[in-house]
Amino acid sequence: MFAYYVRLALLSLRRNPVLTGLTIGAIGIGIAVCMTTLTLYYIMSGNPMGRAGEKVYAVQIDSWGIDDPFDDDRPERIPWEFTWRDANGLLASDVPALQAAMFKAAAVLQVANEDIQPSMQLLRVTGRDFFELFDTPFLYGSAWSASAETAAEQVVVLSRRTNDEAFGGENSVGQRVRLDGRDFTVVGVLDEWDPAPKFYDVNNGPFDESEDAYIPFTLTVPLELDSAGNTNCWKDEELDSFEKFMNGECIWIQYWVQLDDSDQKARYQDFLDNYVRDQQALGRLERPIDNRLTNVPDWLDVRQVVANDSKVLVGLSFMFLMVCLFNAVGLVLAKFVGKAPQVGLRRALGASTSAIFTQHLVETGIVGLAGGLVGLGLTQLGLVGIRALNEHYEVLTQLDVVLVSGTIIIAVMSGVIAGLYPTWRICRVAPAGYLKTQ
């Protein structure tokens, strides 16, 4: 019976191709606009760590000066990042299951192969726990050892991208590379890893690619590494040497920990409170104690990674979809009313109301499906357009299974919703009126 309805529907759709085309086009455009903005929003608001991110926390302490809050306009906010002193103070704790301090740096990479030109690489200077904390996939090798970290050995983990460029994708573990003229030994190569948003450092471009190489945090002082990321200072102090800068009150380091259960979390909170109290006894950290642990999903929310523009666009595009649906309702209604004599005849010949109802619902469902497919194609076009407009959105604009199936579901539902009222109207056709004039 269903196959018969489908045949009937196709027949009816073919009879009035302009109207059918307009309806499908209206639904398709509405869906495309909606899905394009939703895709932006969905990926911006994504949590790349999934459930695992609930145990991974960003750490914050209020290290700002006593005179003004960190953010004058939003006094409830405290610094997002750490001073060198505080990051090292926290590293002394043995409470967290895993912990890593980190910052962004840059260096020129050279390899033995003369054919490969030197190139600027972004580095993440961090602890070995970084890789386990964020569950980064390894293609070759592994993180550096604890002893290498303690001894501040010049070791490096390359990103897959960098390994492809510098070593043609071969296993480069054990090979030498030069970073700013210093020798480093490759200990590991990551597989593809570009979390979006780049939640562990949203200060420096939340949708940037992940760094090109990773080196131990313990190298910071021996190599006098400078941060290539954001640095914020509140204190007026003379920072005319590397040593003074490191002891200064500037924040530039991100700090993440993994806390497996509430007991561990409570103990870590105690540790933080004690740490800040100790520092206060030394005359630092003058603001009231306000130590915060925020897990990945909450962090993305607090940091407002989703741009307001993108939320406004989602609101606008749902209004757009509504216009398209009203449009489709009008067109379908026009079409069905035009079919009234035919329906009257079929009713007179014995078709039940429910059969008429199902038939027309099948027809609008097909229109919805076709609209969805058109919409899916147009969505791809829209995303290509956005990628071309804005290089910040490179990693943002890939449709995935969730989005594609979401589109189809929204499309068919739109079709059915748009068809429901006209279908109901057509079912109320009284057969007699249409038989008279024939």
């Binding site: 020129v108 509140w234 007026d236 009008g330």
Partner: protein
Amino acid sequence: MEVRPIFSALLRNKTGAFLISLQIALTLAVVANALFIIVQRLEKMNRPTGMDVDNIIMVASSAFTQDYDARGSLRKDLDALRAIPGVIAATPINQIPLSGGGDSNGYRASTDVPSHDGISANNYMCDEQCVDTLGIELESGRSFDASEITFREPNSSFFSPGVLITRALGEELFGDEDPLGKSIYDGLGRSTTVIGVIRRMQGAWVSWEGLERVMVRPEVGLWPYTRYLIRTEPGQRDAIMPVVEKTLIDLNKERLVRRLTAHADVVKHSYSQDRTMAVILTTVSALLVTVTALGIVGLASFSVSQRTRQIGIRRAIGARRLDILRYFLVENWMITTGGVVLGCILTLAFNFWLVSEYELPRLELVYVLGGIAGLLMLGQLAVLMPARRAAAVAPAIATRNV
């Protein structure tokens, strides 16, 4: 004018008219707000920069050897860059204006002001060719000369005795008084004198309220990482860019020459968020207006074909073509008017949501009025084709049995 009968006839077929009204209302809400946002973004992107953005090239040099002669290579680079035919001026600079990257410090008009109440301003550190390279205009005072430039070792701390500031920074610091010759203090209490006032120059962050608060200092950092700005004769920029790159590469192999970019592209990149928003909103608005117009055409055509016989009868009993045409135009006018009345409420509600949730400014009335006028016109235009078809119905059709 036979308004009443048209209205009665409209009530006989409420659904179609109601659907069109709803579409008009939503279209007004979306388009009025979208246009308002688009105009704001365009105004933001078109603010005068005060610089000769179109003829400036930026390039960066990153040394990667540990015993790099920063001072010597800086000298050689600058001599070579300035010798390129078509180059007006070149300067090393700590940060690129309008790039989204920058330094800022708090400055005070006197040491009585607590240092945490200082006025934040962007710092640009460059040499004696800075003013010519940026193409900025001094409204009073003078630029630096070569003897005033201080070359700073990495991690050193220094505050030049004489600086240039923008008029905007001067107003923040000294109100209506002329800033020329006045002293400015940094957070550490060190002082400097204003030797020149820049009419206008934009700083680092395009969405920052203090974008025009800029201080230009005669200092050059001796870091392994150096940025240069080069200003060319008008129209020669693209031809000179490859020459700049080759010149720097040939001079010194112990560094990377990177990020060779036209300054105009740097600026464009900084506004990409605003441009993306403007383009998306324009596209959405255009599509929406098209969809709504097609909806009106579709439904009007349908109603014309439904009423062919009635039209024939009217024509047969004496209505002119013009009467028929006018009938559909008036009917559409009624529907659209209903739509825009509802639309005004929706527009304001939507704007209220934008204002309260996303800190957008309040909608200006002219956008609502413009939207109303535009939609009324759109409706009349959209209905014109079906209405003319209706007017062409021959009176004889009335005598026919469909």
